[in-house]
Symmetry: C2
Subunit: 280 residues, 2 copies
Amino acid sequence: MIEMYLLEQLVAVAKHKTLLAAADALHITQPALTRSMKKLEQLFGFALFDHHANRIEINENGLLASEYAKRILQLEQEMIDQVTHLEQSKHTIFLESCAPAPMIYLQQRLALLFSTYSVQSHLTNSEGKIIGALKQNKCQLAIVSAPVKDPNIISSKIFTEHLYLSVMPAHPASQKEKISFQEIDGETFLLHGSLGIWKDVVNEKLSHSRFIVQDQMQDLSVLLASSSLPAFTTNISWNIYPRQEKRLEIPIVDHDASTTFYLAYHRKDQDIFKALLPET
Amino acid sequence: MIEMYLLEQLVAVAKHKTLLAAADALHITQPALTRSMKKLEQLFGFALFDHHANRIEINENGLLASEYAKRILQLEQEMIDQVTHLEQSKHTIFLESCAPAPMIYLQQRLALLFSTYSVQSHLTNSEGKIIGALKQNKCQLAIVSAPVKDPNIISSKIFTEHLYLSVMPAHPASQKEKISFQEIDGETFLLHGSLGIWKDVVNEKLSHSRFIVQDQMQDLSVLLASSSLPAFTTNISWNIYPRQEKRLEIPIVDHDASTTFYLAYHRKDQDIFKALLPET
DNA sequence: TGAAATTACGCTCTACGTAAGCATT
DNA sequence: AATGCTTACGTAGAGCGTAATTTCA
């Protein structure tokens, strides 16, 4: 049997071309590598290198072996990652979401409902990746904007998120009862950095606008209170962050200013997560 | 990093359910395994087994880990096999054939022409497997009954093998100048055990016959000399084995009593193997 | 009482580092 | 002379075996 450390060292030698460089990278000494490579050749029963007086050159055998070694080391790392994730998933609810406010809102509800678990949530723009993560058991819960077509996965409607324009009273739109994207395209907005699928809507409908991006939600709140720049809120975000007292919220009437979200989870977890759904 | 011996031991424990049985299979002692499994759990950072007082039960984590371990060990074995084969192929010409006499004949010619190489030949019934072996570089030369459709592989006609009925003078057919399968279907024949693609022809055309099978060519020769049972020879086999002096050979006229064989090899080996081909 | 896992202790083998040697550029 | 691989020697540690202990059926 060929041990892992030998494979790791072989890969390093194949990569760095000389024993000295590889030894440096591995934080061992050169003689140790000389011995290891000789041991490898002895285990295989033939040469993996052309041994010259003061240099070695990997040969065809060594190259093939190092390719395999790389794959073996990758597989070992995958084993560690996957088993570790399996263990973590027993104490953690992993949540993938395509939109920020629904994510934070659900995260808070999960923390209350499943207080013995910890919750890890992650925002991803691509819904395909989210569904992939769910199918590969990398997460147990997903927030998506359309039902998942898979017999083993249940998609339940949870709520519809409506976008609102948030303005100071001095803003021209403040008196309106409703507004459209077209009317405000071209203005400069304060925006959070992570928008999920809303990013597509904003880019398309407000293509002439400038956006002042702020990634930290707390800093954004300070800006919202002090600045006269328009911004956006949603009916879901009101559950999470306090409404800015001075600001007025004007509903946006466009069709794609509203998105219905679905909670997706494996059928086997149906009983666990049904407490999250609205009563019917 | 998790060493191979730990993975091997984990797989054994997962397979044999108890440490004692696994230790037995691995030819080590039970305490060694106890320590190894504890070491594995320490490396992962969590339990892979439910530890009871006097029994241990693998858990979900351990099962997943052992599945990966199995794959890693398989990959390691594949590495050893493939690299070893690559090394061997430098000193050995591997020949796969779908018919016995062409194989032996070519093996003899190879031994003469490439005296610094050793030759390993192998008879396989399935031509698909032969072509697969050639494409995967498991052999450099193949004898097949139809050209291989692959731009990287050259198929050159080498010869056509004709089947002859071999009978003693007393046999009714001995006076004939030619004969067909139909005329002899139902008789009992002496036959070699390995026929390659000829097996299909024999089974189909002589479905009413009985066959006395002898795997050892030398023993078959003795039988052929002493027995009055009919048998088969081919124009190719005459190059290999001495003709039985007492016997007469009657050509078989059926279309599928003749097969044209092709030598298949990678384009890069074209120059090496062209010496084997008939002059044009 | 027997079967099976764990703990304790001692040994051996091995992978490593240090130091020195040697060949090539 | 500098670079880089190899050889020689000593050491610390790791993995294994033996023996004793514990627990459950």
